[in-house]
Amino acid sequence: MSLQEWITDFARYVPGFINAAWIVLLLTVVSIVISWICGLLAALGKASKLTPLRYISSFYVWFVRGTPTLIQIFIVYFGLPQVGIRLSPFVAGVIALGVNSGAYVAEIIRSGLSAIPKGQMESSLALGMSRFDAMTRIILPQVFRIIIPSLTNEAITSLKNTSLLSTITVVELTLYAQMIIASTFRPFDFYIASAIVYLVMTSVLSQISAHLERGYSKLY
């Protein structure tokens, strides 16, 4: 096969790759949103005065961090229908990934919270602010700045974990590559190609995060 033929052959799959990359991006964004919500709730739950909340949050983090992500995905997609909850592959996938990543985000936020001096909460309360206002206006914005690098790492992990969703028939990058390979028998070419697409996306994420960090460090 000449180089010319190789390139035209490869070019046929470019639109498909772009589509698959879009799916990866969508899966990542939605699961990151879910993970931040879960993570924030669990982090605050762990710091709560209410014992049941503390137990639930601790159990969540303990369970998720102690079991394989793939098993969690299977539980949501294959397991839940048995108890009457049927989800599409996409929905099951983002829920599983989001809830999974949330446990790690919870730990990240917890470490960020512990880095904020106690005096920040005290000075807010001393001015008559509610705990909620103090959290959302004073504490969390400071936490966010500290944890941007860790959150980025976690987002990159989430992005890469979307490839696990190929096992539950979400046609994202990995499953798309497998499908092409099944008809072309060129695993080396197409696995490398999909790796490059992943690499581009994770690099863009890192750049965004570095940019955010620079913006913040100029401020204070």
Binding site: S123, A126, L127, G128, M129, I138, Q142, Y220
Partner: protein
């Protein structure tokens, strides 16, 4: 200045502004406050002195309930609280109202590093008192003018000296138009050459009739500025009286020893010797 206007001066004979009775507080098995009672009248400037561990900071933190007392009663602003009675403890709402009218300044300033100086000042008036942004800005800028930091209004706290940060922290509390100001060893974290600017701001406030409760190691401030000095010893008030009397003629050996120690340290510092 709005925050300091209309303070009663001759009104010291009427009801005290704040009446605290028999306050007790333990941390674990250590009883830090062993029944402290104190009345504070409008316009009074009370210095609280005592060795570290004597309970004076804990007492101050109990006044705006940053620490919840185990027992004791509290009469303030028409409310009567009893901390040993669940039903008569302040509700969340009452707690926030109390704190909104009791300003507190901390040893470590505790400005919010992610907000500019002016944003530090207007946050609570807007959020807590519902003051319009424009009005809060005007008040905040006037207060900054007064302490000579108007030019720094858009700076972040980390770009200010310790003395400047502490003065901003004082102004942040003043922006809420408090009835009482609590000062918790506010000059202890400052470099010696920056102590003066903070103390003179406090003296100016005292001169305008602000009611103040000042935990301090600055005996000079206690003597020159405060009307009354309270000596804490072992979680109790050991002496309480007019500043000049208490400091010039200590009744107890404990206070005499304490004053000797503190004055000795101060003179060492003044002489430039290492502490």
């Amino acid at each position: 200045m709005t925050a300091l206007a209309n303070l009663p001066n001759g009104a010291t004979e009427i009801q005290p502004l704040l009446r605290i009775k028999n306050l007790r507080k333990s941390f674990g098995t250590v009883e830090v406050l062993k029944g402290v009672s104190l009345e504070l009248r409008a316009g009074e400037v009370v210095s609280i002195i005592g060795a570290s561990g004597s309970g004076k900071s804990t007492f101050l933190r109990c006044v705006n309930v940053l620490e919840t007392p185990d027992s004791g009663t509290f009469d303030y602003g028409g409310h009567s609280f009893d901390f040993s009675d669940r039903k008569r403890q302040p509700t969340g709402r009452e707690l926030r109202d109390l704190r909104a009218s009791v300003g507190m300044v901390f040893q470590s300033y505790n400005l919010w590093p992610h907000k500019s100086v002016i944003d530090n000042i207007i946050e609570a008036p807007i959020r807590v008192k519902g003051v319009a942004r424009r009005e809060a800005l005007a008040t905040g800028e006037a207060l900054l003018q007064r302490i000579g930091l108007f030019e720094k209004r858009h700076a972040y706290p980390s770009h200010l000296s310790g003395g400047q940060q502490q003065r901003v922290a004082i102004v942040r509390a003043l922006a809420m138009s408090p009835k009482v100001m609590l000062f918790d060893e506010v000059t202890s974290a400052l470099d010696p050459e920056l102590v003066g600017e903070v103390l003179s701001l406090m003296a100016a406030l005292a001169g305008e009739g602000m009611t103040m409760l000042v935990v301090t190691h600055e005996i000079g401030f206690a003597r020159e500025v405060s009307t009354r000095t309270v000596f804490f010893d072992g979680g109790q008030i050991a002496e309480d009286g007019a500043s000049r009397d208490v400091l010039a003629n200590p009744k107890s050996d404990r206070l005499r020893q304490f004053l000797q120690r503190v004055l000795h340290d101060t003179s060492l510092r003044a002489a430039g010797e290492p502490q």
